[in-house]
């Protein structure tokens, strides 16, 4: 049985003020196996974020259904941890209390909350920053905290919506290595949305390419690079071959998307 089944999910946003409704997602089906690291790659506006938000339960599909471990998803919940592109740490809470947030909502005793929070903060390399407020942290540190906050809930799946999109290139590469290291350690099922081809290949066990609006899955490419992967894999011929193929796939879609806008 798949960890996650996306079955004929489609999404149309209703038009506002007499404009035509927007078709964001064509009927889409996708099976995600346990321990998979799936990256969803596509040009902007291809509905990849919409698909992820439907899995998260933050959007309701116009048709179709999403099953997590065989149970239909009907709304957001702590079994699907999410990291957003925007910085969504609660600015009034310290780093530690941000990580405790989900545990507190679940009613875990405070001592246990703190133990879990400190473990995950150490895992993302933020030991010593527990009592900082988000505004005192760099963008990369904020997203690391957001990752720790999602992981602390021990979700069945991790959903990431271009979480490193706002970071500079160097920080972004370090974050990819950090996330990949965490995945290699406990193989939590991950769905990661990005428009960055290198990022998609480097971390994934499967890259799912989406077409320009309305979005649908164009191809599904298993990445057979060995684990553990270091950053050095990015300069290997195998990596370059994947990159060449995906660049072609994405380029066609981007050109389509650009000409549609005209």
């Amino acid at each position: 049985m798949s960890k996650l089944s996306i079955r004929n999910v489609e999404k149309t946003f209703p038009g506002r003020n007499n404009t035509a409704p927007t078709r964001a997602l064509e009927p889409t089906s996708l099976e995600v196996a346990d321990n998979d690291f799936i990256t969803i790659l596509g040009p902007s506006g291809c509905g990849k974020s919409t698909l992820l938000r439907i899995v998260a339960g933050l959007e309701t599909p116009s048709a179709g259904e999403v099953l997590l471990e065989g149970k239909a998803v009907s709304g957001p919940g702590p079994d699907r941890g999410m990291v957003f592109q925007s910085y969504t740490l609660f600015p009034w809470l310290t780093v530690r209390d941000n990580v405790c947030f989900g545990l507190r909502e679940r009613g875990l005793p405070r001592a246990e909350q703190l133990a879990v929070a400190d473990r995950f903060l150490a895992q993302v390399g933020l030991k010593g920053f527990e009592n900082h407020h988000p505004a005192q942290l760099s963008g990369g540190m904020q997203q690391r905290t957001a990752l720790a906050r999602a992981l602390a809930n021990d979700p069945k799946m991790l959903l990431l919506d271009e979480p490193f999109g706002a970071l500079d290139h160097q920080t972004r590469e370090l974050m990819q290595e950090l996330l990949l290291g965490i995945w290699e350690a406990d193989r939590k099922t991950v769905m990661f949305v990005t428009h960055d081809i290198d990022e998609a290949i480097f971390m994934a066990s499967r890259v799912v390419v989406m077409s320009a609006r309305p979005g649908r899955i164009k191809c599904d490419i298993p990445i057979e690079l060995p684990h553990p992967r270091s950053y050095k894999v990015k300069t290997t011929p195998e990596f370059a071959a994947y990159k060449e193929r995906l660049t072609e796939e994405i380029r066609v879609e981007t050109i389509k998307a650009v000409t549609m806008e005209r």
Partner: protein
Amino acid sequence: MSPLFTPLKPVAPALRTVLGISCFVLFFLGWGIATYGGFVKPLFLASPGDTLAAGIALFREFGFAEDIAVTVWRVFAGFVMAAALAVPLGILMGAFKPVEGFFEAFVSFARYLPASAFIPLLILWAGVGELQKILVIFIGSVFQLVIMVTVIVSGIRTDLVEAAYTLGAKRDGVVLRVLLPAAAPQIFEALRLVLGWAWTYVIVAELVGASRGIGHMIIDAQRFLDTGQMIFGIFVIGVIGLITDLLFRALNARLFPWAKGR
């Protein structure tokens, strides 16, 4: 163009203080020239010296401190009553759109009703005692505050709310532990603004049918054409306003250090 007058460019704190004081100095200078220079008759405008003398006499001979205490108490009581109703209602209206739908039209209508126009009615209903004065302030503040709090809560970033849902928060958790703390600094700021308006209502209330209070003193002084006392009374209101403003700001900075510079 002078570099000092570059749009949005901050000035040094010391220069800022000097500028702020200069405005006061210029004001008193203009006042002094107009009165001591004999350009305005003392009957219409007392000189700064006469005003100060009138003020000292007010405290020494007419128990002005008690008037101030009575007025401060009225403002405080009316304002606390308004806040106690408006803040929870505004939070409910901001968070739950059916509640907003029910109240919004009525509150928008009610906030245009001038509080001073209620004075004759309130005298009929509540007599000329304390309750009537307090109710004027209550009516003048409560509807404004409800609308402001509603707008603040409605404007809380939805991605923070979505993050809370994906961490397992339920409805009450989102309202109490996301919307409320996120809105708190701005609600505090709204209270500061509305308190300033409450001061203008109390004086109006005291101009009619009061036996104590700053407004009553000003009306009394008018009977004797004592412009010194009138001006001193108005000044005291300004000073009290300035002090409460500074207290609110200091308290805001202390309670919500994380919101600094937003």
